[in-house]
Each structure stands twice: as structure tokens, then as C-alpha cells.
């Protein structure tokens, strides 16, 4: 009896190994190389295009690395590798539209750019006569400026109320919630609101640039409030208390201590808010309308803007259509460039105006 016990092998390392075979660290690269070869090879044999090759290579990679990990390291590791490659593939696929869009706009838009394009309006332009986006640039700048002038004071003061005065008040909580909800107002509803408002003043069929400013500020205010709120919350209470201890009134503490400390973040937020609304089309289509002439007056008559210009130049090109469609792509390029520049500016501003710590 005791012999049999001795003979029976105790559960040892051989039965329950603590380490199993592992894939080499270079496994993903090896599989990627193989998948690329398969994709290009099969694509050439079967005569598919670049897209087909990419899809084929991607699928081969996913299947290859999963099967390898599964066979060598077990099911759990296989699933892990599968998820990892699928997640990265999702990222890559999602960037394809961005790349395609940037390429399309660049290749179609660059031929349209010229000195006339920036300095001519479309007044009296027929067919392929030189015409440009001067009127639309002016309109976009003025209307966005108007929206900024409305939104920035309202937005910043609201954030000051929420953070500095109404921490616990019911009104502050309600405002916070409403600002959240306001972020979700569809832009076209903002345009309809501006129209419904100005119809009461000017009568039916009203079109004016300032209405566009009002509509855009409805979309811009929540962004400004949110950004400012976050920044004000980051200001340490010690700074405020030090200021109070010196006998400085609350409002001067806010203006001279709290706001300068959070200035960089607020400016970044405002710039991003401008970038968000400058490309809005729908509200301007409704309340600012469309025109071929330059209009410097925000408070009277139709005003052209870049997004609306793109829309009409593309959908109603006239005869012959090609010059107008080319102008639409050119304007799209200019608009994207403006938005990207604003985004870049926001980051630069954040760096430049960051509070000096004195260290």
C-alpha cells in the first residue's frame, strides 16, 4: 500500500507547469510582415486595388496573430491578442475617412487658390470669370466676432457665478445642468430661434448678420462656460484665502487673482469655442442668408459666410458648373485651414499665457 503511494507521482511541475511557451516579443512584427506579403500577393494575383490589399492584409494579421497566440499560449491569450488587433484595426479604419477627406479637399481646393480668390466677391460673376470669397470671409469674420462679443462676457460671468458665488445654491446647480443640456441644442434649432426672435422685431423674411451672431452665441456660450468653469475650479483656494486675508474684496480677488491665474485655460477654451462655431452652416443659412456682394453691416441685409458659400457654390453651381464647384473646394480648404489654425492657436495661447509660477 505504502509502495503504491510512493510510486504514484505527486502533482509536480510537469503536471502543472508554472511557465508555458511564450511568443517572441517580435511576434506582431513578424505576423504584420507576413500579412502584408499575403495581402499584396493575393491582391496582385486576384487583381484587387489598394483598398482590397489593405483589407486582406489586416484580416490576415488579425487571424494570424490570434491563431498563433491561441495555439502557443492558450485560449485566453488568443482572445487577448484578437481584441488588441481588432481595437487597433478599428482605430486605423476610423482614420481612413479623415485622410481621404483631407486629401480630397487639398487636391481639389489648391487649384482654386489665387490672389483674386481672396480679394474678389461674387458680385456679377458669371461662369468662369474670376470670382472669390472676399465677401464670405468678411461675413464669417464679422458674424463670428459678433458671437464672440456676446458669448465671452456672458460665458465667463456665468462660470464665475457657478464657481465663486453659487457653489451650493440651487440656481447654480440648475444652471450647470442647463448648460449641459444647451451643449446639445442642434445648430439648426439655434438658427430657427434667432429667426423667430428677429421676425418679431423686423417682420417676416428677415435676414441679417447679427441674427447669425445670436444663433452662434447660443452654441458658443456653453462651451465657454464649461471651459471657464473647469479652469476656475483648478485655482487653489489658498490663493483666494490669502487675498481675503489681506482685506481684498471678493470681486477684486476674482478679477486680480483668480482670473489671471486661469487666463491661459480660459483663452484656450474661448479659441476652441470660436473654432467650433466658425464652421457652422445651418443657422447662418437660415438667418444670415446668402448674397454675392460684400456687406459690412451686421445689422442689415443678407450676409454671405464661408460655410453657406460652400453649400450654394456646390449645390447650385450654375452654368458651366465647374468653376463654381472649384470655388466651393477652395472655400472648403480655406475654412478647414482657419479651423485648424484656431485649434493650433488655442494650444499656443495655453502655453504662452500659462501662469508664471516664479519657480
Amino acid at each position: 500500500m505504502s509502495q503504491t503511494l510512493e510510486k504514484k507521482p505527486a502533482p509536480s511541475r510537469d503536471a502543472m507547469p508554472l511557465s508555458g511557451p511564450r511568443m517572441p516579443g517580435s511576434a506582431p512584427y513578424l505576423v504584420a510582415a507576413a500579412a502584408l506579403a499575403v495581402g499584396v500577393g493575393l491582391g496582385m494575383i486576384l487583381g484587387g486595388g489598394l483598398i482590397a490589399m489593405a483589407i486582406l492584409a489586416g484580416l490576415t494579421f488579425i487571424v494570424g496573430i490570434t491563431v498563433w497566440a491561441w495555439a502557443l499560449e492558450g485560449r485566453r491569450s488568443g482572445v487577448d491578442r484578437l481584441v488588441m488587433s481588432v481595437v487597433w484595426a478599428a482605430f486605423a479604419v476610423a482614420l481612413v475617412p479623415l485622410a481621404s477627406l483631407v486629401w480630397t479637399v487639398l487636391s481639389n481646393g489648391i487649384p482654386a487658390l489665387s490672389a483674386e480668390f481672396f480679394t474678389y466677391s461674387m458680385r456679377g460673376v458669371i461662369g468662369d470669370e474670376p470670382g472669390g470669397i472676399y465677401h464670405a470671409l468678411i461675413g464669417t469674420l464679422l458674424i463670428t466676432l459678433g458671437a464672440t462679443v456676446i458669448s465671452v462676457p456672458v460665458g465667463i460671468m456665468t462660470a464665475i457665478y457657478i464657481v465663486e458665488y453659487g457653489r451650493t445654491a440651487r440656481l447654480a446647480k440648475a444652471i450647470t445642468f442647463l448648460v449641459d443640456v444647451m451643449t446639445g441644442i442642434p445648430s439648426i434649432v439655434a438658427g430657427l430661434f434667432a429667426y423667430a426672435l428677429f421676425v418679431l422685431i423686423f417682420g417676416p423674411g428677415v435676414r441679417l448678420g447679427f441674427g447669425g451672431s445670436v444663433a452662434l452665441s447660443l452654441l458658443m456660450i456653453p462651451v465657454v462656460v464649461r471651459a471657464t468653469e473647469e479652469m476656475l475650479k483648478l485655482v487653489p483656494d489658498e490663493l483666494r484665502e490669502a487675498s481675503y486675508a489681506l482685506g481684498v474684496p471678493k470681486w477684486r480677488t476674482i478679477v486680480k487673482v483668480v482670473l489671471p491665474t486661469s487666463l491661459s485655460g480660459i483663452l484656450t477654451g474661448v479659441t476652441l469655442a470660436i473654432a467650433r462655431v466658425i464652421g457652422e452652416t445651418a443657422p447662418l443659412l437660415i438667418i444670415a442668408g446668402s448674397t454675392d456682394s460684400v456687406n459690412f453691416n451686421l445689422f442689415a441685409d443678407r450676409m454671405q459666410t464661408l460655410p453657406v458659400f460652400i453649400y450654394y457654390a456646390y449645390t447650385q453651381p450654375g452654368v458651366p458648373p465647374d468653376p463654381s464647384i472649384e470655388r466651393a473646394w477652395g472655400a472648403a480648404l480655406v475654412l478647414i485651414a482657419i479651423v485648424m489654425l484656431l485649434n493650433l492657436l488655442a494650444r499656443v495661447v495655453g502655453k504662452v499665457f500659462a501662469p508664471k509660477t516664479g519657480r
Binding site: 479604419v93 476610423a94 446639445g184 423667430a196 464652421g279 443659412l285 437660415i286 460655410p307 475654412l335
Partner: protein, 309 residues
């Protein structure tokens, strides 16, 4: 002594403070008024449209607006079904899979998607995406015509509600990704390290530590994306060739329109009662998006309360 106390008391009531606080409250009230104004002015201009719908369209307001609501919901749902898995994947890449060094630039790249104006997406949708999808539609209509969504006949221009949904999906990707990414990054490190220490693979760690923590945040992110997709105008107005029918067929050349696109297409030329009718449909859109956003914020808020307990 008593004078000093009086002075300090007076200090509490300095006029500068009162004026500044008053201005701050006034600004907050402006927001309240603006939101109330949206509802009131749209109602004021919209009600004549609701009442007069029969004169304008020979049908009641409900039968005018219902196909538009249907189209709005369908396009937004297509967008949501496509965008959500991608957004969760992209958020995971940025928060958990990518090395720290390249995670931030990847985040910027996703934000670039949000920087492209909607009208540019629309023009790109007509010229590039639509024609690219035509072979797919033709294949679907030939192979799986028994699925009602793909009954065909396939559109030859690609300007279908499915294309519009794809464009919308691209447009709402950044917002869903941004929120998911933030919430994934907030998962307590201890939970994640505990899972890894017990021998979980990275995916098991994400499934067992990250997703349960982030569930409500993901739901509210999707709903915010839905709100965006419901209200998006220009991309749909440009891409969709709409005829205002109610159909399950996503790939044919007769498509339902959406509320926002319908307003954008008709408003510039509309006069009289037609304007009121369009404003009334805008009111319906406002109500739908308001409800969706409200629900999203409520879910996010209630989970934040639960977590803080």
C-alpha cells in the same frame, strides 16, 4: 473698537462686490432666459404652423412631421450602430493600448475629426464616399435582398440614408471617443493592477475592471452622440437624396428625409405659413434632442452620485 467692527461690516457690503455679484447672476439668468426663449419663440412662431398645416400641405401636422421624425431616427441610429464600436475601440487604444508617448498625439488626431466643418463632410460625402459605397449597395441588393434593409434596387449615386448614416457616424466619433476615453482613464488604477496581479490578460482586465466602472459613462456618451446625430443638418442635407417616404430600405434612391435637413433645404425659399410649419418641425427636433440629452446627463449624473458614495 465698535467703529472697527462697523467698518468690517461695511466691508462685507462693498458696492463693488454687490455690482460684481449682480453681474454674475445676471449672466447666469441670461442663459436661463436664452433656453426658455428658444422654447417660447419656437412655440410662438411654430403653433400657427401646427394649426395651419392642413392649409399648407393638405394633411395634419402629425402626418407631415412623422416621416421626418422617422428619417431622423433611422439616420441617427445607423450612425450610432456604426460609430459606437469604433469609438469604444479608439478610446481603448488611447487610454490603454497605445504607449504613453503616442497616446496624446493620437488623441489630437481624433480631435481633428471634430474640427472639420459639417458642410465639408457633406460635400465629401457626395463626391467621395457615396460613389465608393455604390458597389457595396449593388452587392447587397444582389446577394441579400430578403433583408428588408437591403431590398434594393440599389442607388446609382450612393446618396442613400445609409451613406448619410456613415457620414454622421464619422462626425459623432470624436465626441463619443472623447468621453469614453476620459472615463476609461478614470478607472481606479488599483482595480486594474489587482486584476493584472491575479493573472488576467489585458483584455480580461479591461472587461472586468474598466468596463463595469465605465458602463454608465459609455451609455451617456453614446446618447450624447445620438443627440449630435439627431440634430446634424448640413451633412444630411447635402448627402441624402430625399423623397420623404417611410421605408426600411436603406440603399435605394428613395429615402426618408430628416427634420434638420428638411428645414435647411426648404427654409431659404419658404414664405408665409411654410415658415411656421418648418419652425414647428424644428420644435419637434428640439424636444427630441432635449429629451435625449436630458436622459444622457441624468444617467451620467446618477452614476457620478453612486460612485461618490
Amino acid at each position: 473698537m465698535s467703529t472697527t467692527i462697523d467698518e468690517t461690516r461695511a466691508g462685507g457690503r462693498r458696492p463693488g462686490d454687490a455690482i460684481f455679484k449682480g453681474t454674475a447672476i445676471a449672466a447666469a439668468l441670461v442663459i436661463l432666459l436664452a433656453l426658455a426663449g428658444v422654447a417660447v419663440f419656437l412655440l410662438y412662431e411654430g403653433i400657427p404652423g401646427i394649426l395651419g398645416a392642413r392649409e399648407e400641405t393638405d394633411a395634419s401636422f402629425v402626418s407631415y412631421v412623422w416621416p421626418l421624425v422617422y428619417g431622423t431616427l433611422v439616420a441617427a441610429l445607423i450612425a450610432l450602430v456604426i460609430a459606437t464600436p469604433f469609438a469604444v475601440g479608439m478610446a481603448l487604444v488611447i487610454s490603454h493600448y497605445a504607449p504613453k508617448r503616442i497616446a496624446k498625439p493620437l488623441g489630437y488626431v481624433v480631435d481633428l475629426l471634430a474640427a472639420v466643418p459639417s458642410v465639408v463632410y457633406g460635400v465629401w460625402g457626395i463626391t467621395v464616399l457615396g460613389p465608393q459605397l455604390v458597389p457595396l449597395y449593388r452587392w447587397l441588393a444582389d446577394t441579400v435582398p430578403w433583408i428588408p434593409f437591403f431590398a434594393g434596387p440599389a442607388s446609382t449615386t450612393g446618396r442613400t440614408i445609409f451613406t448619410a448614416g456613415v457620414v454622421l457616424a464619422i462626425m459623432i466619433l470624436p465626441i463619443i471617443t472623447a468621453i469614453c476615453r476620459e472615463i476609461f482613464a478614470q478607472t481606479p488604477t488599483l482595480h486594474q493592477e489587482a486584476a493584472l496581479a491575479l493573472g488576467a490578460t489585458r483584455w480580461e482586465m479591461i472587461r472586468m475592471a474598466v468596463f463595469p466602472y465605465a458602463r454608465s459613462g459609455m451609455i451617456s456618451a453614446t446618447m450624447l452622440g445620438l443627440g449630435r446625430a439627431l440634430g446634424e443638418t448640413m451633412a444630411v442635407a447635402l448627402v441624402l437624396s430625399a423623397s420623404g417616404v417611410i421605408t426600411l430600405n436603406f440603399i435605394s434612391s428613395t429615402n426618408p428625409s430628416t427634420i434638420a435637413a428638411n428645414i435647411a433645404l426648404r427654409f431659404p425659399e419658404a414664405t408665409g405659413l411654410a415658415v411656421n410649419l418648418l419652425i414647428a418641425s424644428g420644435l419637434v427636433l428640439f424636444a427630441i434632442t432635449f429629451a435625449v440629452n436630458f436622459a444622457a446627463r441624468y444617467i451620467a449624473g446618477s452614476s457620478a452620485r453612486r460612485m461618490s458614495r
